[in-house]
Symmetry: C2
Subunit: 224 residues, 2 copies
Amino acid sequence: TIVEALISALQAKPLAGHTVLMTAGPTYEPIDPVRGITNISSGKMGYALARALALAGAKVQLISGPVALPVPYGVERIDVQTAREMHQAVMQRVGQARIFIGVAAVADFRPLDVAADKIKKTGDGLTLNLTRNPDILAEVASLPAAPFCVGFAAESQNLDTYASGKLQAKRLQLVVGNLVQDGMGGDTNQVVLFDAAGSHPLPRASKTEVATGIVAHLAKMLEV
Amino acid sequence: TIVEALISALQAKPLAGHTVLMTAGPTYEPIDPVRGITNISSGKMGYALARALALAGAKVQLISGPVALPVPYGVERIDVQTAREMHQAVMQRVGQARIFIGVAAVADFRPLDVAADKIKKTGDGLTLNLTRNPDILAEVASLPAAPFCVGFAAESQNLDTYASGKLQAKRLQLVVGNLVQDGMGGDTNQVVLFDAAGSHPLPRASKTEVATGIVAHLAKMLEV
């Protein structure tokens, strides 16, 4: 990764001195030792953003659910599996962070009871009772000394309504919205940035370029 | 992959002329456009076995759930997501197969209703009603002209009982059993082979070596 070190050395550092805590990837909520509930998330957008933030000079800690991606150059990764593990890892570190970015597709619900042994199939059906997971982003944003908070909203419809609703309801500074059909799993993405000033669509581009666009917008907001 | 071609050329071909249909990886059963139920399966054991079978001269078709692994040299891969898609892909091809090997961690249950749009979190709980998926291996093994059938049993306890029970209940020729704590996700595995003659433990080894051991046992059984 001499190339990555060179790219980094040649890059402008608008976020130098900033500490960013972020989450990426899916979470995995066990049903039993071999089954679980998960979210579709390749982690690509979050990892591209972690890399772009590090290139822009930020100190980046990435709390990551299970993904098959290498750790970006200059990024510290902490591996977790469940939403509750992610919550704990975030809360331990958020006091030191200037910026918090929740990219992870956190499971909203987990099975109420986790079976210690593999559930054998008997009968034609099965009922799973689920209970709510902590809302990590909302909890971070409502801390007395909350960091600058950025959320992601992946929706299948009504993106503007849901994303600007999320901005207000969770009192975030910025929400990055995308339609799931536009970005999930692929190498390109099309996003719209929502902040107090309104909405700012970015052109469809590679996740690397989209990440650079988000970092540029973020750096401008922090400058003011 | 000149190296892979060379390895292949130098290898003995005990399975030359045999057509193997196999499944590997997890299946993914959507709950809504962003969430689903899955099984823990990296696909590594199945892909290692597909490679070993191809190296031993077999014509290998691999029906694969979502995994982040490259297609082994000489193997034809067919990608699927759900158990029902896997079932259909297997049934279309099984008539041509001399050997069927079910390595995939197929979800036994799927959500009864799949939400067309992302379920919004409201309330503290959620109940998921699940319904049975087809049992691909049992269905293949009970075909009038069934191929030689090999199953995998990943258990968290009572391996001998469950694996030899699976051999008899589904009328398979061979079951490869392992304890989930011994193999899941890692690069090594420890398995026990169960056939009509009894149980045959293989030593803990890399998944590549375990795959070679399984193929050797299989070739010996087919010889008789």
